[in-house]
């Protein structure tokens, strides 16, 4: 099943020439190079971390590569496996966007995997944009890609970023030169529009926003530790303590090497 086939669906139907006027379409145009997007997929990934940005990259008709350590399907939090289109061996050498989704256990496993860290470093050093959503920034950090950069992560592990030389900014989407990191899970939508504007222009990003009807109206106001309050946040921190402690150990070990 080929991604290109699906461009016949929402992606292409919505945007292939959708925002080109008839007059423009009739003129011969130089074939624009599609931005090359490499999205890391790893086991224990949060599918929603991937799906938000993937949907935007697809509508924007970028050249998307889902890159796994191998081409074996990876597991996700919701039980739907994702099959990589590329392995570390077949992935493009130079990416316009290197993107890393999160999922705490999967991120920590990836931080400890030398081949994954080496791949991140090799592609991250050459990519036009180095990006993440959720705990994905911990893997960027472990590869030395956030040293001296402002960055963020899921609220429950973002304090670990300075262990790997990053300057923590508690914002939803943090840009510093060509690094763009976002907060937990749903911050991927805000990230997607931010990177979309850089790749295709602000108007194209706004069209994506309109197509996805991204005019959020959460029924509750509990989407950050500040708004949810300390009781709810502390409970999550406490119950996820073991996983966060493993992430802290991995961050310290990685930090000592970079």
């Amino acid at each position: 099943m080929d991604r290109r086939e699906f461009n016949a669906a929402l992606g292409a139907a919505a945007l292939s020439g959708l925002f080109t006027t008839a007059a423009q379409a009739q003129q011969p145009q130089p074939a624009a190079r599609k931005p090359v997007v490499g999205m890391i997929v790893h086991s224990d990934m949060i599918l929603l971390d991937l799906t938000g940005p993937l949907t935007a990259f697809n509508i924007l008709q970028t050249d998307i590569h889902l890159i796994g350590k191998s081409k074996q399907p990876v597991t996700t939090d919701v039980g739907l496996p994702v099959t990589p289109t590329d392995s570390f061996e077949t992935a493009p050498e130079v990416l316009d966007v290197l993107f890393v989704p999160g999922g705490l256990k999967g991120t920590v496993d990836a931080m400890k995997d030398a081949a994954t860290v080496a791949f991140m470093k090799s592609r991250g050093e050459r990519a036009r944009f180095v990006t993440s959503v959720c705990t994905g920034s911990l893997l960027l950090g472990a590869a030395g890609l956030l040293k001296g950069y402002n960055a963020t992560s899921h609220w429950y592990v973002r304090d670990l970023l300075p262990l790997m030389g990053a300057n923590l900014k508690k914002e939803r989407v943090v840009e510093d030169r060509n690094r763009i990191t976002a907060g937990g899970v749903t911050a991927g939508l805000d990230f997607a529009l931010t990177i979309g504007a850089k790749l295709a222009g602000e108007d194209a990003a706004k069209r994506v926003q309109l197509l996805l009807e991204y005019d959020p109206k959460p029924p509750f106001d509990a989407g950050s530790p500040e708004h949810a309050g300390p009781a709810m946040s502390d409970l999550i921190l406490q119950r996820r303590g073991a996983a966060i402690a493993e992430a802290a150990a991995a961050a310290k070990e990685a930090g000592a090497k970079i």
Copy 2:
């Protein structure tokens, strides 16, 4: 690959007993019946329509069934296939939640498919909640499930709902008795918290919001036709005109039967 296996990841790790105090956990509890959630999956589905609500239903440890016409994988907009866990034949007879994602071409195909419409009708008439995101409400409408109910849909087809007896409300999430319909794609997140509160209580829904860090801050304000302005909206309506016309024909035909 079994969904239950993945509850070891974010889902279970985050919430299995996560919000139970130690004292509560030590007391014998009557085994609570998990809410049974039936999520329709169909070809040309928008994966993000499914993924937002699926993530919340998974964290809330509901009993999730991904129901296809058959168990064959269905295609999605982003090229990642989804394999149903159930077919119409094996799906539970009684659902706490019947949920339908969108994807305009896929919705219209489903509206025209007698077996799909009959399945929707049989499960919808008995479900505790009958719900949709995006163009999914057109399929609910075609099954006669929105007749006399307030409802909404993706902005570019919501005007078609009255053809099937619904009262259009231009809101992001519309509740009317046990019908809950939401706007386009990303409205699925607001829907997920709304239904989550009904199934598991407001505190549980807020914990989902905090885990998903759903504190949205879109970088642009173009997520509705009203905010994006008529030029951008009209262009989308014009370029999607053929697909919308097909949806209108299907809605008229369905409306004549109910």
